[in-house]
C-alpha cells in the first residue's frame, strides 16, 4: 500500500476519550508545549483555527461526553484533519446522524475534497453514494466486483452488484383483519437504560401490524426495547398478551452464545418448554430438528445444526436470531435493527420474513435507524425524540421530509 502523505480514519464507533475535552482529544499526542506543561491557550487557539478553516464549529473546552453524537463526530473529524491527511477514510459516517445533519456533513466533506483531499467513504447507504461520491466500487466477499462513475449508475444497479444478481422482491403485505384488542398496550411507560430513556410513552400495537420506531440513535430506543423485553424496570403499565419473540440490538452480546452450536442457541428462551424435554433431560433430537427447520426457512449457511455459532457470518448469525424469534407465530415481536450490519441479500430475507410474520398475525415493533427499512415494512411510524413521541404517521401518510425534521427535533 502506498499513499502520498498521512491517512486519516474516522471510525464508525468513535475513538474519543469521553472524559477529556475537545481540544485534548483533537490534539492528543501532539499537544503544544510551553516549558514543562501543555500550552492550553495555544491548544485552544489551534483547535479554533482548525474548526474555523473547515467550518466545523466546536467549543474546544467542552467535555466530549456532554456533546451530542453529531458534534462528537465533528471532533473525531477535526482530530483527523489536524494531521492534514492526504487521504481521509470514513467508515459508515452517517450511521449516527439525523437526516439534516447528514446533508451538512456531506457539504463539509465535499468542500474538503475540492480543496484536494482524497476521500473514501465506506457505506451501505446507496442513496448517499449516488448523491455525493464521484466514483464507486462495490465489494462482495472481500473482492471488488464493480467499479464505476457514480453519474453513470443507479441505486438499483449498485444493489444488484452487491448481491450478485437480482434481489428477490419483498414479501407482499396481506390485508390483516382489524382486531378488537391490541396485542401490546403500553401506557405512560417510563424507563431508563444505560444509553437513554423514555418518558410517558403510549403505544398500542394490533395483531398483524408493524409499528416502526424512527429516531436518531440514543433518543430512547434502547430504553423502550429493554423495557418491553423486561430486562429493565419501568413505570407505567405494560400489557402484553401471548408469547413474544425478541430480536435484540446486539446479536453477539445479547442474542447468541457464540461458543455454542446452532441447535443449542435456538433452544435459548425455550429451555423450559416441555417440547424440548425428555424427562429431566434436554431433548437433543428435538432441538436439532428445530434448528434444521430454521436453517431451511432462512437458508442459513453452513446448513448444519451442529455448526458452532462463532463460525457463521454476521448475516447467518442474524438469520438464526430472527428465525428463533419468529418461530411459533409469537403474538408480539420486538425487532431492534433486525438488518444491522448484514449483507443486502440476508437483509431482504429477514425483511420478508418479518412481513410474513405480520401477515400471520404477529404484532411487531420495529426499531430501525434506516428510514428506507421503516418505509418498506411499517404500517405505522412513530418518531422518537429525546424519549418522547414526536409524531405518528400512518402508512398512507409517510413523509420523509417531515419525519426527518421530527427526528432532528424540529416541529
Amino acid at each position: 500500500m502506498e499513499s502520498r502523505g498521512p491517512v486519516g480514519l474516522v471510525h464508525q464507533h468513535f475513538e474519543l476519550v469521553d472524559r477529556l475535552t475537545v481540544w485534548e482529544n483533537v490534539l492528543l499526542g501532539r499537544e503544544p508545549r510551553r516549558g514543562w506543561r501543555i500550552d492550553v491557550a495555544a491548544a485552544r487557539a489551534q483547535v479554533n483555527e482548525l474548526a474555523a478553516r473547515h467550518g466545523l464549529a466546536v467549543d474546544p473546552d467542552a467535555l466530549v461526553e456532554t456533546l451530542p453524537i453529531g458534534i462528537k463526530q465533528r471532533v473525531e473529524l477535526l482530530r483527523e484533519l489536524e494531521r492534514e491527511p492526504a487521504i481521509l477514510l470514513l467508515d459508515e459516517p452517517t450511521a449516527v446522524l439525523a437526516p439534516s445533519e447528514i446533508a451538512s456533513f456531506f457539504a463539509t466533506i465535499v468542500a474538503l475534497a475540492r480543496r484536494g483531499t482524497a476521500i473514501m467513504v465506506v457505506t451501505h447507504k446507496l442513496a448517499e453514494v449516488i448523491a455525493y461520491a464521484s466514483t464507486v466500487s462495490v465489494m462482495r466477499a472481500g473482492k471488488i466486483v464493480a467499479q464505476m462513475q457514480t453519474a453513470q449508475t443507479s441505486v438499483q444497479a449498485l444493489a444488484q452488484a452487491m448481491v450478485g444478481g437480482e434481489l428477490p422482491p419483498l414479501a407482499q403485505r396481506a390485508a390483516t383483519p382489524n382486531a378488537a384488542e391490541p396485542a401490546l398496550r403500553a401506557r405512560r411507560l417510563s424507563a431508563r437504560s444505560e444509553a437513554d430513556a423514555i418518558e410517558e410513552f403510549d403505544l398500542e400495537i394490533a395483531p398483524g401490524e408493524i409499528v416502526g420506531i424512527a429516531g436518531v440513535e440514543g433518543n430512547g430506543q434502547t430504553a423502550l426495547a429493554d423495557a418491553l423485553a423486561g430486562t429493565i424496570p419501568h413505570d407505567g403499565t405494560l400489557e402484553l398478551r401471548g408469547s413474544r419473540g425478541t430480536i435484540p440490538q446486539d446479536r453477539q452480546r445479547e442474542g447468541l452464545v457464540l461458543d455454542w452450536t446452532i441447535a443449542e442457541n435456538v433452544l435459548l428462551g425455550r429451555q423450559r418448554s416441555p417440547a424440548f424435554h425428555k424427562g429431566p433431560q434436554i431433548d437433543r433430537g428435538a432441538s436439532v430438528a428445530f434448528a434444521q427447520e430454521i436453517i431451511e426457512q432462512f437458508d442459513v449457511r453452513p446448513p448444519r445444526p451442529q455448526a458452532p455459532m462463532r463460525g457463521l457470518s454476521g448475516g447467518n448469525q442474524q438469520k438464526v436470531v430472527v428465525g428463533r424469534a419468529l418461530a411459533g407465530e409469537p403474538a408480539f415481536v420486538l425487532a431492534y435493527q433486525p438488518t444491522r450490519g448484514i449483507d443486502v441479500g440476508a437483509a431482504a430475507l429477514v425483511q420478508s420474513r418479518l412481513i410474513e410474520a405480520r401477515n400471520a398475525g404477529s404484532a411487531i415493533l420495529l426499531v430501525s435507524f434506516e428510514l428506507d427499512e421503516l418505509f418498506a415494512l411499517a404500517d405505522r411510524i412513530v418518531v422518537l425524540f429525546r424519549g418522547r413521541i414526536a409524531g405518528t404517521f400512518a402508512r398512507e401518510g409517510f413523509d420523509r421530509g417531515r419525519i426527518g425534521a421530527l427526528m432532528a427535533g424540529g416541529s
Binding site: E15, D18, R19, L28, E31, W36
Partner: protein
Amino acid sequence: MIDFVWLTLIKATPVIYAALGGVLSERSGVINIGLEGMIAIGAFTGVCVSYATGNAQAGAAAGVLAGALLGALLGIAATRFRVEQIVAGTGINLIALGGAAYGLVVVFGQPGASKQVAALGTGGETAMVVAALVLAVLLHLFLFRTRGGLHVRACGENPRAAEVAGIDPLRVRLWATATGGAFAALGGVFLAMAELDLYSDGMSAGRGFIALAAVIFGRWNPLGATGAALFFGAFSALQYTLQRSGIPSELMQALPYVAALVALAGFAGRARAPAADGIPYVPVR
C-alpha cells in the same frame, strides 16, 4: 493540638505514598491491589540493605527500587500477559508479605522482626512527611498540566483512542504501574526506617488497602487521595489519644479502618473510576 496534627501527618504519610501510587496506576488503567505488598517489600528491602551496608539512604533507595520492580511485575502481567489485575495484585501481596516473613529468617536468623538497623532519624521523618505532600502536588501537576499526564489519563479512559493518537498504552501503563510501585514502597520505607528502625512481620497492617480506599474516596485525584489519607491518619491519631480513656484497645485500633469503611460505603456510589480502569488492553498493532 500540635501533637495531634503531627501524629495525623505521621500516620497518614505511608498511606499518602501508597495512594499516590494507586492514583497513578489506576489513571493509566491498571488497578493495583498489590499496594500492600509493595509497602511491605519497600520496608523489608530498605531494612535489609541498610543492615548490610550500614547506610540508611542506600537502604531507602533499594526499598524504592524493589517497589518499582514489583510494580513493573504487576505492570507486565497486566499489559503484556493481560492477567486479571485483581488476581495479579493479590498474588503480589502474597509473594511480598510471605517473602518478607521468610526473608526475616534468612537474613536476620529470627522470625517476627528484624534487628535494629541504621535509619533515617527524626530529620528523615520530617523530610519524608513534607515530601509526601510535595509529591501529591507534583503528581497533580503532572496528571493535569503536562503532556505525559494527559497521555496517562487518555490510556485509563480509552486506550484505543490513545493508540489511534500515536500513544503506546501498554508502555504508558507499565511505566505508571512501576512508578506507582516505587511510590508505595516509599510508604514502606517511611514505616520501617523513619517511624521505626526495623521491619516487623505484617507492619504494613492493611495500609495498602486503606490507600486503595483513599484512591476512590479521593476520586482518583492526587490531592483528593491525600485528603482521604489524612482523614484516615486523623482517626489513627485519635485512636492513640483515646487509648487512655478505658475503651478496649482492640476496639480503638479498629477505629481508623471502620472510619474508612463507612466513608467509602457512603461515598463509593458517587465516584467514577477511569472508564478503562482494570480492563486489559489488546493493541491494534
